[in-house]
Amino acid sequence: MLKDITLGQYFPGDTPVHRLDPRTKLILTVVYIAALFMVKTWGGYALVIAALAAVTFIAHIRPRALLKGLKPLIFIIVFTAVLNLFFTAGDDILFQWRFIRITHTGLERAVSMVLRVMLLVSGTFMLTYTTSPLAITDGLERLLSPLNKLHVPVYELSLMMCIALRFIPTLIEETDRIMSAQKARGADLETGSLPERAKALLPLLIPLFISAFRRADELALAMECRCYNGGQGRTRMKQLHMGWQDAAAFGLGALLVAGILLLRRLGI
């Protein structure tokens, strides 16, 4: 079922991680990504894995949900592994058979690249798993608001993002419904040659587009009915404010970076 896609999904909850200010989580996610690229040692990876595991545990996210998020990337992960494993130059050969050659450096690099990709993706998933899309756009808008001075339409951009995010599940549901309806009329979406299959998608895409436009019209009307006229001077119902928890989170983030740098210096 399409419903089972977890990309960017939000798991509601009430844990310390969920309660953090979205701005904190956004900044820490960026810090996490940067930190991940500073890792050069196995000890560093162990530290990052431990940190990620701790956050996963505190946020009550099932490890299986994280693995499921990685599933669509399996091709990239395997590709990265194969590329690094077989095509890294070096003379510390571990295994050789005709033109296939695996070096110690290659093996090490393959493992570390795969680890890095997986940690990168799971870490960013942690943001979307614990923060509602609305909170993310809210946080982004506030973080980017200095750009307003440069005449970047930050508010409009965040509204667009918010609407897009809001409608992803709706459109997925709609696709599911139309797919069921057309399958009930004998539509065959799974077999046939490529052109045949592309043609079989038409009964799905046309109703989907029609309904997307209808929804856009309805939404625009509903916004106008409530006297929406842009972002100037709008106040908000939910004010973002940072508390001691956010300070603590930043502290832990700084510790992580410091730890990675220390391990790198020590070469562990």
Partner: protein
């Protein structure tokens, strides 16, 4: 042997996530050919999930569905076959219309059945006639039709497959009372003419009491099953399932409680009116 047999049917959504939900739970149901069966239940009771199993759209987590004694999930071909023998009209079917003309849209199902051109043509015309779409609408775009006409075109698209069982999920939702009545009459006329079986999923008790048999669902299980008079007699249990009685049955109940001597099986406005008038004949309550 019944036409459709549901055996221990179970469906669990999003298994292994926090959103895991058992939509139907070890459900057994036999549906006889030629029946008009009403499937009623509160939102989220599993009605829609149930009907998606009748034509093999959803695969059950456990259990199976037999059509004429044959497992509809046995092979890919059997699953596809089930699609054409059990025609399912989902809620708001007008959103599935996509072809350039009404004719082409109704012909989509029969075309997927790989029928001959003449056969498709015959079926499209017949199906359109059943739902009351005139032939001068054939060349129009389905998007230009009125709401009620769109609904009918979509239903015709399923009828054109000439299914043995027609399943409709809230077919009258969003129609005005006259349109509702009209559509129901056409559906019952189709049943009489084709000898088919109808399964109606509905919230509307005034539609439910026109079925021969009612099946009441609550959290994925069947809680009541029988002819309307029996089901509506269990008014307490119905209310427990989050359903209302038809207005006439409700009024009859209130009158009975107020001491008016009314017979037990009253669930349509006509029956209520008759019962009250016969009281007057007896010279019972002064009206």
């Amino acid at each position: 042997m019944s036409l459709l047999e549901l055996r221990g049917l179970t469906h669990v959504y999003s298994r292994g996530t926090p959103f895991e939900k058992t939509a139907i739970d070890h459900l057994d149901l036999d549906i006889e050919a030629g029946q008009t069966l009403g499937l009623i239940g509160h939102t989220g009771s599993g009605k829609s999930t149930l009907i998606s199993h009748l034509n093999a759209l959803l695969k059950p987590t456990e259990g199976t569905v037999l059509f004429n004694g044959e497992d509809i999930y046995a092979t890919k071909a059997a699953m596809r076959h089930a699609r054409f023998r059990v025609g399912v009209v989902f809620q708001y079917p007008e959103y599935q219309l996509f072809e350039e003309t009404v004719y082409a849209d109704i012909a989509y199902g029969p075309k997927n059945q790989r029928l001959s051109q003449q056969e498709i043509d015959r079926r499209v015309r017949e199906a359109a006639a059943f739902v009351g779409l005139s032939e001068d609408q054939f060349d129009r775009s389905p998007l230009e039709l009125s709401g009620g006409q769109k609904r009918r075109a979509a239903i015709a698209g399923v009828l054109a497959m000439e299914p043995e069982v027609l399943v409709l999920d809230e077919p009258t939702a969003g129609l005005d009372p006259a349109g509702r009545e009209d559509l129901l009459e056409k559906l019952f006329a189709w049943k009489d003419a084709s000898g088919g079986t109808i399964i109606l999923v509905t919230h509307d008790m005034s539609i439910a009491n026109r079925c021969q048999r009612l099946v009441v669902m609550e959290s994925g299980r069947i809680v009541l099953d029988g002819p309307p008079e029996l089901v509506f007699a269990a008014s307490e249990q119905l209310r427990g399932s989050g359903l209302d009685l038809p207005a006439a049955a409700h009024i009859a109940g209130l009158l009975r409680r107020a001491g008016v001597d009314l017979p037990a099986a009253i669930y349509t406005v006509d029956q209520l009116a008759e019962a009250i008038l016969s009281l007057r004949g007896k010279g019972g309550a002064p009206c």
